[in-house]
């Protein structure tokens, strides 16, 4: 989105123009959902968090700064909502841990993407992504999947660009290793998929 267009949209949002909301929604809804569904690994959770993200935008529309950058703002809200969701889940899980030990089925589940992935390679990448720690997964999703630059992604995660660079480097190494390990037992990894230099 061009910066001038974005600034005009922000101004219209601040005035409460519903058509401006439609434009922002059209530009970011799919990207936000893709980010959230891979981060949370659950469609239903991602849809709840997505709806809450849009509600937060509406509630804060009049207080947006004139120079707000909508992409980082929306991804920050979505990411923070996911962190809150994880915290609430941790509380629930700790309370229910004694019951889970009695549960007769495995609670491990494949991500929605993994189930729907068209190719074996995609399926392996989705599986590897889903198995990564959330902090590593989110930097990969922001930079490599959503195409955000390092400085914006660092803002979204609330860390310095240098910390993001390091986290991204580690995340890519982990992903490469998981894929290589996975490839040893099945389809070969794509050419040169070693520890890749950060961009």
């Amino acid at each position: 989105m061009e910066r001038d267009t974005e600034l005009a949209l922000v101004e219209r949002l601040r005035r409460g123009d519903p058509n401006a909301f439609d434009d922002v929604y059209a530009a970011f809804n799919t990207r936000l959902f893709t980010f959230l569904v891979r981060l949370s690994r659950r469609r239903d959770v991602a849809e709840d968090l997505l709806e809450e993200t849009w509600l937060r935008l509406v509630k804060h529309a009049q207080r947006l700064g004139a120079d707000t950058r909508l992409g980082p703002w929306l991804f920050t809200v979505a990411r923070n909502l996911h962190v809150s969701y994880l915290r609430s889940r941790m509380l629930e899980d700790s309370a229910a841990s004694s019951l889970i030990a009695l549960w007769p089925f495995s609670l491990e589940r494949s991500s929605p993407f993994e189930a729907a992935a068209a190719s074996e390679l995609e399926r392996r990448i989705e599986r590897a992504l889903a198995a990564m720690p959330a902090a590593s997964r989110e930097v990969l999703l922001l930079v490599a999947v959503a195409g955000m630059d390092h400085s914006d992604a660092a803002d979204v995660c609330g860390i310095t660009p240098e910390a993001l660079r390091q986290r991204l480097h580690r995340a890519r190494e982990t992903l490469s290793k998981v894929l290589e390990r996975d490839a040893e037992g099945g389809v070969p990894a794509p050419g040169g998929m070693r520890s890749c230099p950060i961009r």
């Binding site: 519903p18 809804n29 990207r31």
Partner: protein, 82 residues
């Protein structure tokens, strides 16, 4: 952005949310945004309390003028024009 891993990640398929729920969310947010903007613009205008005071002041002024006019008319009719 040209290494194979980055390319693969960038080419992963996007996910689409449930269309019915997405539409409900969009419409709800539109309505809420318009409602909040209307409320904000109403609160920026003169408050209803201040408007009430202004109406009362105007009414008292009109009644006062009418009373004085009537006093003058009565006085002239009793004492006659000089």
């Amino acid at each position: 952005m040209s290494d194979p891993l980055t390319r693969l990640l960038a080419e992963l398929p996007v996910a689409e949310p449930d269309p019915a729920r997405a539409e409900r969310t969009r419409m709800g947010c539109r309505a809420l945004l318009a409602q909040r903007a209307a409320r904000a613009s109403a609160s920026r205008g003169p408050s209803s309390g201040r408007r009430t005071v202004q109406v009362w002041q105007l009414l008292i002024a009109v009644l006062g003028v009418a009373y004085l006019t009537e006093v003058i008319v009565q006085a002239l009719s009793v004492y006659g024009t000089p």
